[in-house]
Symmetry: C3
Subunit: 165 residues, 3 copies
């Protein structure tokens, strides 16, 4: 991990970054989707992409948003379709690492396991993968995602609606 | 997180609380059920409740004990029935947060994944959910649960015997 | 946790040990198997053993290597057979504890969940268990495994090839 001296983001410790992810996953686990875009910088990117495509350098994504506005659109689309099959998604993460800190930006990785529970059914794995993220401080000193790219090990998502993670 | 000055529990850091949970889950994972009640305060409550009931404000629980004595009764009942189908339950947790600290009490949340392995069978998810707990310091300065409420995403527990988690 | 004064390994904190495990699991998750032996001391042991055998004191292992050279042999064997069915294994850990620190050695435990994804199939649990490890500092001051013993809750590994974890 390298950082220019005096870069405020380089002074952040792992606990502060973990607390940001804890709040992020808690918001999604609790189903407060309308708060989800607030974790992103004004200029941002959100992607869910299969590991096969990601490692092959192909840009085809399972889900992609290139601005905070598009994240809001996505939320509205999900909330409209949520009537179909009520479910809970819960996210577990492991091995959070700050792999780089430079120019006002942290590069963060972490393993993610998404467990889904449909009403009156046993919980099962929806997918797993790794976050390849860039996190920045906004003008108010709050952590925000400049880029969250969730690289999923599978292309098979047993889901008609793709939920954020 | 707010706390009155001079409240000893407010001085505890996240690592100390994590160590308490690590010891708690290790005791259960190792099957040392007879030690389980020792993690609770004399006045305590333990509940496993479905998320649907919890969010609807309904009190109906999958398992409930309202005193340390009842926890001991539960342990004895489980140990008697353990002959039927030997199994291992292992608990994984993620996103532990101290959401409040006041009046000698910590409010703690964490995601929990319970993985079950029956003899000569592959491991599978038994359930997942979130702990909504209140943790206190006893007179000896040890952390104890005043309330452990495990809110499970599913009502379907593929189990005739309910084990603590 | 007890440690002799002046023992450099006793001065290591939990974060440093977690960072070692994060790097270890990341190397395996990313499939960089050829780097795997580098996490071990020159004199080392690696074992995967069923919990049933481990608790019965039986030495029969699912996989065993008694030297760094044998770890390299294992890697070459896996890489040769990897053509058969492409898959990703991803490791999640929880509850890492330093249960002892003495004589230049840390005894470390942690729960491990291994999730496997075969090409174009949903992710599923491959196995879960606990690491019962001994970690040392080598002459360059780097952490290395003197012993990594992964105790799996199941004997049923739905896999023709056993991957390290």
């Amino acid at each position: 991990m390298t950082a220019s001296r005096g870069d405020p983001i380089a002074a952040l410790n792992r606990d502060t970054v973990c607390a940001f992810y804890d709040a992020y996953f808690d918001t999604l686990d609790a189903g407060r989707l309308e708060e989800w875009p607030e974790f992103f910088a004004t200029e941002c990117r959100y992607r869910i992409i299969s590991r096969e495509n990601y490692e092959a350098g192909q840009g085809l994504c399972i889900m992609q948003a290139d601005s905070k506005g598009m994240l809001g659109d996505r939320v509205r689309a999900i909330l409209k379709t949520q009537v179909y099959a009520p479910r809970y998604n819960r996210r577990f993460y492991s091995g959070l690492r700050i792999v780089n800190a430079r120019a006002g930006e942290l590069e963060v990785r972490q393993n993610v396991l998404i467990v889904q529970t449909l009403l009156n059914q046993p919980s099962q794995i929806l997918g797993c993968g790794a976050g390849h993220d860039r996190v920045v401080l906004n003008e108010s000193g709050e952590l925000k995602f400049a880029d969250r790219t969730l690289v999923l090990d599978t292309e098979m998502i047993s889901n008609s609606v793709i939920y954020p993670a």
